[in-house]
């Protein structure tokens, strides 16, 4: 009864949207998912699942800043982790990122189990975490190149281990993935309509 037809023109008039024809019927509709195996799809899938898991764990609305910070950290890790998983082992930066996340998880779990969650030991936990992070960064530093190249090395995950040539290559791919990440996350935020 209600045949709602959304034509391409309407959608095309909107900026940045892909053109496709969608006939909207009451009980049948046709949507086109561009390339279900693309990086974007894989990343989106992983990110949404991670968000789901996080929301399941933390039911209540985060009121305190500490809770928000914790969730923020979790979501950030989820975003980078799902992006690295979507890329897989093909790129050096994704491998480095995944191993970093796994190390963090391992050390975090150990700490949590050993020290419990009392506030007295919280500061100690933080100190240990920071130290461990520092240890992880003590990778082979390749001498050479200007200060800019070193800055770039610090930005790109796993950049300390590469030579300048491959660093630039990895940077290009990393930039592309970051762009996708931002796009998808923006979209999610829009959907959630966070004011």
């Amino acid at each position: 009864m209600r045949d709602k037809c959304v034509r391409v023109s309407e959608l095309n008039s909107l900026p940045l949207c892909l053109g496709w024809v969608v006939f909207v019927h009451e009980f049948s509709e046709l949507t086109v998912i561009p390339n279900p195996n693309s990086l974007k799809s894989r990343f989106t899938e992983g990110l949404l699942r991670a968000l789901l898991r996080i929301n399941q764990h933390h039911h209540q609305q985060p009121r305190s800043s500490r809770e928000i910070r914790k969730r923020h950290r979790l979501i950030k890790t989820a975003a980078y982790g799902s992006m690295a998983s979507a890329v897989g082992n093909r790129k050096a930066w994704s491998r480095a990122l995944l191993s970093k996340i796994r190390n963090q998880a391992r050390s975090g779990a150990v700490l949590r189990r050993s020290l419990g969650s009392s506030t007295r030991l919280l500061s100690m936990k933080k100190r240990i975490c920071h130290l461990q992070k520092g240890n992880n960064k003590k990778n082979r530093v390749e001498v050479g190149g200007s200060g800019q190249v070193d800055k770039l090395r610090r930005l790109v995950p796993g950049g300390q281990l590469m030579d300048t040539c491959s660093l630039l290559e990895e940077t290009a791919h990393y930039m592309k993935c970051l762009t996708t990440q931002v796009q998808v996350m923006t979209r999610i935020v829009e959907i959630y309509n966070i004011p």
């Binding site: 959304v6 209540q60 609305q61 975003a79 800019q148 930039m175 970051l178």
Partner: protein, 430 residues
């Protein structure tokens, strides 16, 4: 075999008489009385030995003629001509004649004939030279070992071997001669192989250092390369310089499949280090060009330092955006709908960021559930792309939550307006 014994004796005498020197042997035979003595015996032995030995085939004739001429003081002219033509086989066969009992062990005709052409390969490598050596007057009174040494004047190994030949039996002599023969052509072959067929490994040793080193360096690098880089590197081959052009072209063609050959361009340093560095620099500049295309608004920038700065800034800004967005997501109300994730994923994939009012169907997770009601009531203006899914899905799954959120549904209209503003707000951020 009496005839064979005679042969034996004759040969020994001949050895003493330096029979190995064909040209001079005849004229300077120092043992005429022995010759005359043996004349009768040799004649007698000549014919019978000739017939039953098809072994020697063509090579036999000069030998026979030699023995004949030796015995007769070199009176036959015919043998002389044959002498000059086949000094080698003659010499070889005279040694073979040392003991006719060994004749059966003599190599087959074919193999012997094979050996003949190789003889010119000896040290000097020229047949005429060897012939000339035969013509030396020293041949006259030289003993077996000495004459044999003269045989191969240029070959050290040969001399060593041939010097011992006299002491050895015929077999050993044969084998050592063959060995000497075999080794020298091999040595020649070894040297010739890289020249004739450009072997990659040999090439690396023989060609200039630059190509070898750079190709090795490039081989290591190449293994990590992508196709893109290979294509770019293949463009590095410039003009050829110097005489190595031909070799390099051969090597380049042969080596194309495994690693890239870099040739020095005109007017550029051909040092191996500078060549490798140039390759590296070009690779880096090529990557920088790619990055320039990725970073928005960097088309006009020339210069590595400025470009690197821009790249660093861009990556930093992207990472900050991710952080900001994740912070935003962290503050969201966690009671959002779970099943809508599926719809969400479709929607996310089907539209890009800042997609405007497309997602009007779910302006917010809070208000998404009452939305179908809104649709059915038909007052809401925005037409969502995947709206019809709402009647089916959310209602069936989220009935229990609908009541809770229903009262929030009336905020949906206001949310839609906010939504449009939100989208526009978010857009300029990026």
């Amino acid at each position: 075999m009496g005839s064979h014994d005679n042969d034996d004796m004759g040969f020994q005498h001949r050895n003493e008489g330096s029979l190995n020197c064909p040209s001079s042997g005849m004229s300077t035979n120092p043992l005429p009385e022995k010759v005359s003595r043996m004349a009768m015996s040799s004649i007698s032995m000549f014919k019978p030995s000739n017939a039953p030995d098809p072994f020697f085939g063509s090579g036999w004739d000069p030998l026979v003629s030699l023995s004949q001429s030796d015995n007769f003081g070199g009176s036959s002219v015919a043998s002389q001509s044959e002498y000059t033509n086949h000094p080698y086989p003659v010499a070889m066969e005279t040694q073979g004649m040392s003991s006719t009992s060994h004749l059966v062990q003599y190599p087959s005709d074919s193999s012997f004939v094979e050996m003949v052409p190789k003889l010119p390969c000896f040290g000097s490598g020229s047949f005429s030279e060897m012939v000339g050596s035969f013509g030396l007057p020293e041949c006259a009174g030289i003993s077996n070992s000495g004459c044999v040494a003269n045989y191969n004047p240029n070959r050290d190994g040969g001399i060593d071997r041939t010097s011992t030949m006299g002491a050895q039996s015929h077999d050993d002599r044969q084998i050592s001669e063959e060995g000497a023969l075999g080794s020298s052509p091999n040595g020649k072959r070894r040297k010739r192989v890289p020249e004739s067929s450009p072997n990659k490994n040999a090439e690396g040793e023989l060609n200039k250092d630059m190509s070898g080193e750079s190709s090795d360096y490039l081989k290591e690098q190449d293994e990590k390369k992508t196709k893109q880089e290979e294509n770019a590197a293949s463009n590095l081959r410039g003009k050829q310089t110097g005489k190595q052009a031909k070799d390099n072209s051969q090597s380049g063609d042969a080596a194309k499949d495994s690693y890239i050959h870099v040739r020095a361009r005109r007017g550029q340093a051909t040092n191996s280090h500078s060549l490798a560095e140039r390759v590296r620099r070009e690779k880096i500049s090529e990557r920088m060009r790619l990055l320039q295309e990725l970073v928005p608004g960097c088309n006009k920038i020339t210069g590595k330092a400025v470009m690197l700065d821009e790249i660093i800034n861009y990556v930093q800004s992207l990472q900050q955006q991710v952080e900001f967005l994740s912070m935003k997501l962290a503050t969201v109300n966690p009671e959002v709908n779970i099943d809508i994730e599926r719809i969400l994923s479709k929607d996310i994939l089907n539209s890009r960021s800042g997609g405007g009012a497309i997602f009007g169907f779910s302006p917010g997770m809070n208000s998404s559930h009452p939305y179908p009601h809104g649709i059915f009531q038909g007052t809401l203006p925005s037409m969502p792309s995947t709206a019809p899914q709402f009647p089916s899905l959310p209602q069936t799954v989220l009935d229990n939550e609908l009541q809770g959120l229903f009262h929030m549904g009336f905020d949906s209209s206001s949310n839609i307006d906010n939504l449009g503003q939100n989208a526009s707000r978010l857009k300029p951020e990026l």
